[in-house]
């Protein structure tokens, strides 16, 4: 394997980490819709960290290794339309992903407040925060943008 082959393998592994993180968040998005107690909500926090780590490593890895390949591999240029499209989609997905995290963390913060206040029973406000429509729409859009990046990477329009 050449050095570029290793970088390509790491680029693809990063893409897998990114999507794996999104899948982890999809499972949590579905599960948290039934969570109306602070305990049930807070118990999901370690799993959100797994998803956050996977998407974080994936996002940074795909960008860095992808940029390396764009400059290093003959036949690819950074201004190729499909590479520019991938960079735009990456930035959009990253920005919206951050907003998704904020939307869902409101429920987590509320659960911590309720726990600190000694309230352990079901709470309608917490359930409403956990069922955030804004977060659901944002996560759906981020997932669709990620699928578009995958399509762009495979079909390479304009290459």
């Amino acid at each position: 394997m050449s050095f570029d082959d290793w970088i390509l393998a790491l680029h693809v592994l990063s893409a897998f980490a990114w999507v794996a993180g999104l899948v982890v968040f999809w499972v949590l998005v579905v599960a948290v819709r039934r969570a109306d107690t602070p305990d049930e909500t807070v118990r999901m926090e370690p799993i959100t960290k797994v998803g956050g780590a996977a998407t974080g490593i994936g996002a940074v890895g795909t960008l860095l290794f992808g940029l390396w390949l764009a400059f290093s591999v003959g036949g690819y240029d950074i201004w190729d339309p499909w590479i520019l499209a991938a960079l735009v989609l990456w930035a959009l997905a990253g920005g919206l992903g951050g907003r998704t995290g904020k939307a869902y963390m409101e429920g987590m913060h509320k659960a911590r407040e309720l726990e600190a206040a000694g309230q352990s029973g079901p709470n309608a406000e917490l359930l409403a925060l956990n069922r955030t429509q804004n977060g659901l729409v944002l996560h759906t859009v981020v997932s669709l943008l990620t699928v578009l990046i995958l399509i762009d990477m495979i079909w390479k329009p304009g290459a």
């Binding site: 390509l8 693809v12 592994l13 899948v23 982890v24 999809w26 499972v27 118990r43 370690p46 495979i154």
Partner: protein
């Protein structure tokens, strides 16, 4: 070598490749989500069920889509006509076959575990499911490396 292949790939391979990669990504995501949920469940029946059903509803369909794409691509690329298969194909098939067996064992063992949760048992069986899921996840990542880097 693989970077050259990526540059020169015929366009009719793209859709089967998309199906293969998309399925593999869902499989890896399902394994990570299911194994992580089982890991952090700490005996809580709700989270143990969530982890198990994530493996059933996400990882298993992901495997089927990945494998369908793999077979499609295998014949489309004419790899089935090669006298000697490249190492990365052997690795991919080996890990996919062994992974399928392990996933099946994990789901059967976990299914019994989930049934036993009603009577307060089953956590040990679901722990076994979790360990198998982590092993398959690591093996799947090795397969991804082999498919992308194409050693030899």
């Amino acid at each position: 070598m693989s970077t050259f292949l990526a540059l020169s790939r015929p366009t009719e391979w793209n859709f089967p490749l998309f199906v293969h990669v998309f399925g593999a990504m869902v499989l890896v995501g399902g394994l990570l989500a299911g194994a992580s949920t089982l890991l952090y469940a700490r005996g809580d029946a709700r989270f143990l069920r969530l982890g198990y059903w994530t493996l059933v509803a996400v990882a298993l369909p992901g495997y089927v889509v990945m494998r369908t794409g793999a077979e499609w691509l295998y014949t489309k690329e004419g790899l089935d006509e090669l006298p000697d298969e490249p190492t990365w194909i052997d690795m991919g098939y080996g890990i996919a076959d062994l992974g399928a067996l392990l996933v099946l064992i994990a789901l059967i063992v976990g299914g019994i575990g989930v049934r036993r949760l009603r009577n307060g048992g089953g956590t040990g069986l679901l722990k076994a499911t979790m360990i198998i899921a982590w092993i398959v996840l690591v093996a799947a990542l090795v397969a991804v490396w082999a498919m992308a880097g194409k050693p030899n």
